[in-house]
Symmetry: D2
Subunit: 127 residues, 4 copies
């Protein structure tokens, strides 16, 4: 991935880590703890975050013309997930990675960072 700058690499690694952390916490930690941790809406929120982070990473990795819009959606989901995990407690791994991920995605969504910079006119939508 030598064509992505170091900021984009960091974002990709964080997105991938956030996706797998939320997935693992939902299906191992939370389901086994039970109680509030195993409530349907908590498990679904974690899996939303896992799925959307994975797709955002994919779009960013191939410099999709939609990566800033996808990153903007990812900000909201990571923030909601991080906040819910913090309120619930015993979810420290998710809280910290969701926050870092939201920050990366916010920066990407604002600046059209990384892909857009490298991409230039040649990859712009053909409109």
């Amino acid at each position: 991935m030598h064509q992505l700058d170091s900021k984009a690499h960091e974002a990709l690694a964080t997105l991938a880590h956030c996706s797998l952390t939320c997935h693992s916490m939902a299906l191992v930690h939370c389901l086994e703890l039970g109680g509030e941790h195993a409530r349907p809406q908590h498990i679904r929120l974690l899996l939303d975050c896992a799925a959307v982070c994975a797709t955002t990473a994919e779009l960013l990795a191939h410099k999709s013309q939609f990566h800033t819009q996808m990153a903007a959606l990812c900000v909201g989901i990571c923030e909601t997930c991080g906040e819910n995990c913090e309120k619930l407690g015993q979810m420290e791994d998710c809280v910290s990675v969701c926050r870092r991920c939201a920050e990366h995605c916010r920066e990407i969504s604002r600046s059209g960072h990384a892909a857009a910079l490298n991409q230039g006119a040649t990859h712009a939508p053909s409109s």
Copy 2:
């Protein structure tokens, strides 16, 4: 999936079909045709559409609290993909399924259709 109404079922089937059609057309039809069909930005657009439709279907299938936002993003991607495929030609399968998919997603994004109706207060975010 008996808890989803028939509109949601139809949307899920269309999203899945759109995802696999764009994926297949990109990696078999277009790459083998070569020329304009194999241009990086065309292949990437088809794979954006494939990835985002698959994730939208997943969120809709589990009645995610974010499914309307995801569907709204999916509208724009399906429309862009359908339009580009139409301009290029020899992409009829994509053109028709992308349009149907954009319509389903537009309806979902407007009405909070399906999931929201069934979901009610019990699945609302815990805020």
Copy 3:
């Protein structure tokens, strides 16, 4: 997807339907029923089936040289999922689609069906 024969189309539709059914049943039906249905290993098995069916569909849709191996793995997972769902009860949608999906995948894994037939020497691994 006009380059895939009708058998492959049917398999793709079944794989996509199986994936979304298992996903939806796990995260809506089972988590809300609670009890045995919400046991971690049952939820994880349904999500295994959802993930592996989706990936098998993707490989089949682009005529991957690995699609028969992937389909063979998918047979075992669909069968295990279908059997577990049948023992548990109240999982009729999963039982029937997992069985049909296992049959499609078994046929694909045996015959190198669809992709291999169309693929011929030109797409064979470059060895």
Copy 4:
């Protein structure tokens, strides 16, 4: 993901990195280089590797009862991808990460490493 040991964490990070590297190289580097790099079977092989690594990571992250079988399939795909990329040249990032990923997956497939160790009898298939 505090319930996975450090070996499993390393494997997850490598699988995620391999998936995004192959995805990015296929859709940016190779399609833009053109020629042999943009041949359909090369692009498809890279995207096979991307998809199967992502699914293997997911199954490993939630300690799926099928994670060793999935890892075994992933070994073969990573090795094939790494070898093809080496023959082709100008694919150094893929060559190195595919090799490391194949090693991690081989170890997992042999030992039932990580998940199986932590998982014990309580999560075994209910058969």
